[in-house]
Amino acid sequence: MNATVSAAFTAQLRRDLLLSFRRRQDLANPLIFFVIVVSLFPLGVTPDKEFLSQAAAGVIWVAALLATLLSLDGLFRADYEDGALEQMVIAPQPLFMVVLAKTLAHWLVTGLPLLLLSPVLGVMMFLPADATGVLMLSLLIGTPVLSLIGAIGAALTVGLRVGGVLVSLLVLPLYIPVLIFGTGTVQMAINGQPWTGHVALMLAFLALAIGLAPIAASAALRISVSN
C-alpha cells in the first residue's frame, strides 16, 4: 500500500511538471513579475546605496510573496475545468498526497526559480554579500510555506469565477508571519545578530504547513468539486 502511495505521488509530480514544461510561457510569468517589482524600487524610490541595502531583504521578500500569490490561481484551475480534479477526488489514493505532489510541483516551477534568481537581485539592491546566503536560506524555507498555504486558498476558490482577488484576501493574512520572519532572518544577519532562532521558527512553519495545509486543501477541493 505504501509503495503504491509513493508511486502515485511521483507519478502525480511527474505529470504536473510535464504539464508545466509543455506550457513554458506561463512559467516565466511569476519570474518576470519578481524581477520587475524589485528593479522598480531603485528607480521609483532612490538608487541610494544606504537606503537600498536596508530595504533589500523586505523588498525581495515582498516581491517573492506577490509573485507566488499571482501564480496560485493556476494550481488547480485547469484540472478543475477539464474534470481531472474530479478524477483525483474519487481516486482511491489519498487526496492529501495528490495535493502535496501538486504543491511540490508548483514550488519547483515558481518558488525554486525565484530562490535561484534572488542573489542577482540582492546584488542590484546592495544587499551585503554575506547576507545573500541567509536570504536564499530564508526563501528556501519560506517559499514552500507560501505555496502550501496558497494551495488552501486556491482550493477554496477554484470553483468560483472570480477566484483571483479572493485568494489574495484569504491567503495574505496567513502569509504575514512568514514574511515577518523571512525578512527578520535576513535583517538580523545584516546587523550581525544571531539569526538561527528565526530559521528554526520558519522550519516550524514549514513542518506545520506540510502536515496541515494539504489536509485543509483536500477538504476545500472536495467542497469545490461538489458545486
Binding site: 502525480q12 510535464l18 509543455r22 485547469a78 474530479e86 477526488v89 495528490v98 468539486v225
Partner: protein, 210 residues
C-alpha cells in the same frame, strides 16, 4: 447473481427549488447493466454525480455492499470507475501520458497494458500524439481507454458514447455485456438507442410533477 452492489433508498434531489427526483429507490446487482433514462434536465447527471460521491446526498440513503456509503467511501472508490461529461483528458499530454497519469492514482498497471488499452479504443499510432492534436472523438476515446485498463467492479458512465462512431459504440456495448456476464456492474446514461436493449435494466427519471 443476486449479489447487491449498490442500493439507493428514497433518494431525493432538489436544484433551484425544483424537485428533480424524489422517492427514488433501486438496486444495482452484480452483473447488471443499468441505464438511467429520462429527458434532458431530469437529473441523470446529478444522480450519477451523487452516487459517485461528487455531490452531497441530502435526503435518502445510499448503500454500498450493504453498508452506508459515508462509512465505506474509501473502499467504494477502490471499486469505482466514474466517467463524467468532463473527462479530465489533458490537452498538453499525449494519449499515453493521459492514461498513465490517470491509472497512477489507481491500481498499478503495466505500460504494456496501457498501450493495449489505447489500441483497443482505436488509438494505435496515436499513443504519443498530444491530445490537443486529436479530434473530439479521439480525445473521448482516450478517456474510454480507462475502461480497458480498469478492474473496478462498478462503473458509472455519463453519456459514454458522446462523439463516438457507430463501430466504437458497438464495441463498447459488447464490452459492457461481457462485463455484466463476468459479474460486474455498469450504471450509465445514454441517448443512443442501445442495441443491447434486452440486457438492460432501466431506471427512469423525470416522472415527478413540477
Amino acid at each position: 447473481m443476486s449479489d447487491t452492489l449498490l442500493e439507493v433508498r428514497t433518494l431525493r434531489c432538489e436544484r433551484d427549488f425544483r424537485v428533480l427526483f424524489k422517492d427514488l429507490s433501486f438496486t444495482v446487482n452484480a452483473g447488471d447493466v443499468v441505464q438511467v433514462e429520462g429527458p434532458n434536465g431530469s437529473g441523470k447527471t446529478t444522480l450519477l454525480r451523487m452516487l459517485a460521491g461528487l455531490l452531497p446526498v441530502h435526503e435518502g440513503e445510499v448503500f454500498w455492499r450493504g453498508e452506508p456509503m459515508q462509512r465505506v467511501r474509501p473502499m467504494f472508490y477502490e471499486e469505482l470507475l466514474y466517467l463524467g461529461h468532463k473527462t479530465g483528458v489533458k490537452d498538453s499530454l499525449t494519449a499515453f501520458e493521459n492514461l498513465r497519469s490517470w491509472a497512477a492514482l489507481r491500481a498499478p498497471v503495466s505500460d504494456d497494458r496501457l498501450l493495449e488499452a489505447l489500441e483497443r479504443v482505436g488509438l494505435k499510432g496515436f499513443e504519443h500524439s498530444l491530445a490537443h492534436n486529436l479530434s473530439a472523438g479521439q480525445q473521448r476515446r482516450i478517456a474510454l481507454a480507462r475502461l480497458f485498463v480498469s478492474d473496478a467492479p462498478f462503473w458509472i458512465l455519463d453519456e459514454p458514447f458522446t462523439a463516438i462512431d457507430k463501430k466504437g459504440v458497438a464495441e463498447l456495448e459488447n464490452l459492457m455485456i461481457q462485463r455484466g456476464r463476468e459479474g460486474m456492474a455498469v450504471l450509465m446514461t445514454t441517448h443512443h438507442a442501445p442495441r443491447i436493449e434486452g440486457e438492460l435494466k432501466k431506471v427512469t427519471l423525470g416522472r415527478v410533477a413540477a
